[in-house]
Amino acid sequence: MSNDVYVVGVDMIKFGRFPDRSVPDLGAEAALMALDDAGLAIKDMQALYCGNLYQANAMVGQRILQQIGQTGIPVVNCANACATGATAFREAWMAIKAEVYDLVLAVGVEQMGKGLLGGGGGGSGIPKEGLLGGGTMPTVFAEAGMEHARKYGTTFEQFAKVSVKNHHHSTLNPKAMYQIETPLPEVMNAEMISYPNTKLMCSVNVDGSAAAVLCSERKARELGLMSRAVKVRASVLTSDPWQERDLVMPDVNTCTRLAAKEAYERAGLGPSDIDLVELHDCFATAEILHYENLGLCGDGEAGRFIDEGHAALGGRTPVNVSGGLLSKGHPLGATGIANIYEVTTHLRGEAGKRQVEGARIGMTHVIGLGSACGIHILERAG
């Protein structure tokens, strides 16, 4: 028998703002939902990998078990910026791949404040934001988008169309933070945060959690879980290789290209085999870059890719049919497992109104600035 790894249970809570709840409480809810989805109990789990960023020193995984069952299993808490959830999932995958365990739980959870992320500066002396350029996330990704505009003439309108599409997709996803249509003029005329990203082109800071139960093939067959199982065809994590401008301009492109190349190689697949993609649209500008970085279209073709509707539900490669980070929301540590939930749900044919018809293979992608890129390729097993 192979040492392939399967997702046998997965779920997420509806993203929202839950200031009266705790991080472990939110994580526990998703953990129980994923266990129920698999028809298993916490007593069946041999390890827990927990992803959370803002309380990375606070033993969130153990505190989740204090809510749902302290069975004494090993717990690993991980933080990797916006790739935190994907990293927890990948550690769980690796533990089974290495044949150390047969059944492992991965949880991603985050509670967010409102407002701008990044910037701030730090260090001694005087505040640097607005003195040495901008360091907020909308600004960093605006600069990355404008680099694409420089190379290929990509327009503000093309960037904005990403947001129109993802907000439209989210109207079909009851677990998204928002279910609101945002027509192009509304997106372009929204408050400008960092040109070319308006407020509606920035991801939504929300609270959320997602969890997955990963299983060895042997155990999945033994337990009769293969009919709804989804196989992990590739799990890849990269950091950012040296680039000449990366000291002042975080590079989200090279690490994504590196990860995508390796993921396709490991899966023995190419971009044309992928039926849907959940990629890291932390800002509308970022999604445009990743069409090319993931090979969904050729270099310089991303503007046309969005113009011609190839990334929309019903298009050539639907992207972010969940509504993406732009409308589903972006609880940092949960994002990399919530996108596993989304793709798995499509591969199971259970995505309801937003179902990508006949989806057999899907891809998830996250970027943690600093940088980390996590990519997973999943395939329907049944």
Binding site: L116, G119, G120, S124, G125, I126, P127, K128, E129, G130, L131, L132, G133, G134, T136, P138, T139, A142, E143, A144, M146, E147, A149, R150, F156, E191, M192, I193, S194, Y195, P196, N197, W242, E244, R245, L247, V248, M249
Partner: protein, 141 residues
């Protein structure tokens, strides 16, 4: 206030203010692979060579690589401002505010020549009341 106390401090450590000369930006160049970094360092993150770094003076001219126009920032930060990534002539990339230009995408062009200028750090002082000197970019004719 004595003359020594009135001297502004550098806003960042790679901004050098010689006692008897003009301010400039300092970088490091790896003599093994040629990679250029801002400020000083001992190991090259491009080729991993150790102790091959030479200190260099970065150019005061360059071209605009990319930018964003920041309209919303943290409380107390004046907006809008242009956050600019500039490739310096002779190597090195620096980020800073592009000044003396309308914050309008129709006025800003990729590749436009810019000059590095050294000015007071927008009136910002530290808790001890010290003034700072910072660097900015302005369009170059």
């Amino acid at each position: 206030m004595s003359e020594a106390e009135a001297r502004p401090l550098p806003a960042v450590d790679y901004l050098k203010i010689p006692a008897d000369g003009d301010p400039y930006l300092e970088g490091s160049k790896c003599s093994a692979c040629g990679a250029i970094f801002l400020g000083s360092r001992k190991i090259c993150s491009r080729c991993a060579a150790r102790d091959q770094m030479e200190t260099i003076r970065l150019a005061d001219t360059g071209t605009l690589y990319t930018y964003a126009i920041v309209h919303r920032s943290f409380p107390g930060v004046d907006v809008p401002f242009v956050s600019a990534v500039v490739d310096l002539d002779g190597g090195g990339t620096v980020k800073g505010n592009l000044m003396d230009i309308e914050p309008d995408p129709d006025r800003i062009t990729f590749g436009m020549p810019v000059k590095v200028v050294y000015r007071d750090a927008l009136g910002r002082k530290d808790k001890d009341g010290n003034s700072y000197l910072s660097y900015f970019f302005v369009p170059r004719e």
